[in-house]
């Protein structure tokens, strides 16, 4: 065992605690089916699907769950003829 490495590293338990708190706070609401982020995601995707074919390469959805703020980023590549709904 490398003692220098062992003692110079910060404890990892606080990181574990912080990560779990954020994750579980989100999961508990999610299991109650009232996850705002997820609702937003689904409704936005439904709107997009109404106007263009939702293609995995053209629509990317990113979420990042934070302690006090979460972000939802929807990146849409709208083609020139995007207005014509694909069957």
């Amino acid at each position: 065992m490398n003692f220098k490495r062992f003692f110079s590293r910060p404890a990892s338990a606080p990181a574990a605690r912080e990560r779990l708190q954020v994750l579980l706070a989100h999961e508990r609401v999610a299991n109650g089916d009232s996850d705002l982020l997820k609702t937003l995601r689904d409704e936005i995707m439904a709107v997009i699907a109404k106007h263009m074919q939702v293609d995995g390469d053209k629509v990317s959805v990113k979420m990042e769950r934070g302690a006090s703020v979460s972000t939802l980023a929807v990146d849409i590549e709208v083609p020139f003829d995007g207005g014509k709904k694909a069957a």
Binding site: S12, A15, R19, L23, A30, V59, S60
Partner: protein, 271 residues
Amino acid sequence: MGKVIVVTSGKGGVGKTTSSAALGAALAQNGDKVVVVDFDVGLRNLDLVMGAERRVVYDLVNVIQGEAKLAQALIRDKRLETLYLLPASQTRDKDNLTPEGVEKVITALRKAFDWVICDSPAGIERGATLAMRHADVAIVVTNPEVSSVRDSDRIIGLLDSKTLKAEQGERMEKHLLLTRFDPARAERGDMLKVEDVLEILSIPLLGIIPESMDVLRASNVGAPVTLADNKSAPAVAYFDAARRLKGETIPVTVPGDKRGFFGKIFGRKAA
């Protein structure tokens, strides 16, 4: 065409998820394109071990049910460009995994990645059999302990009968990954010996991963151990295992065998 690997064991808590993440990252650190797929529907944990838990948008079940495209469900690792995760669903159960759906996903992944690593749930039910179904190679994760060895034997039987390869009359390539190996207990003679496990299961050895605090630390911070501390003993063991997976011949060292003076005098060689 990529290779599909199932990381399986029968028993829970032996190190499948830890190994899936560590081997996946090790292969990706080498530049290969890797996706790690969590088959533990209902009890996902691979996202947590890989530090992607806050970024899960869609999961395997969403893709299978047609609610999301595969590309939308894949999460790219923040540290390694060529490492991806396909998370399991946390809110639905295993019945949502259909054989047809799994086949479609695996076929698509195989085309896009060099390695598709399937992290199997414990047990021998649907989740576990679907995880192994399309595998080219199986990594049987075993702890040097009686119930784990017994469960591994059972899983080896399933690998040889319930997989596509087996049904087509082909041979499933199987490797033993001995994990949570405790050199101190081995030294005292309280742990099954490496050669005993190998003799009982009679499949080739991919590597021996020592029981280590470094694994706990890595999961605390949300990084595969090969990324969290690439010089640590378990990381080095996983790097070697990854190279053997790629076909290199590297001798396996039994953890604790490279001891100092006293160890050499009093120790017995294990393999």
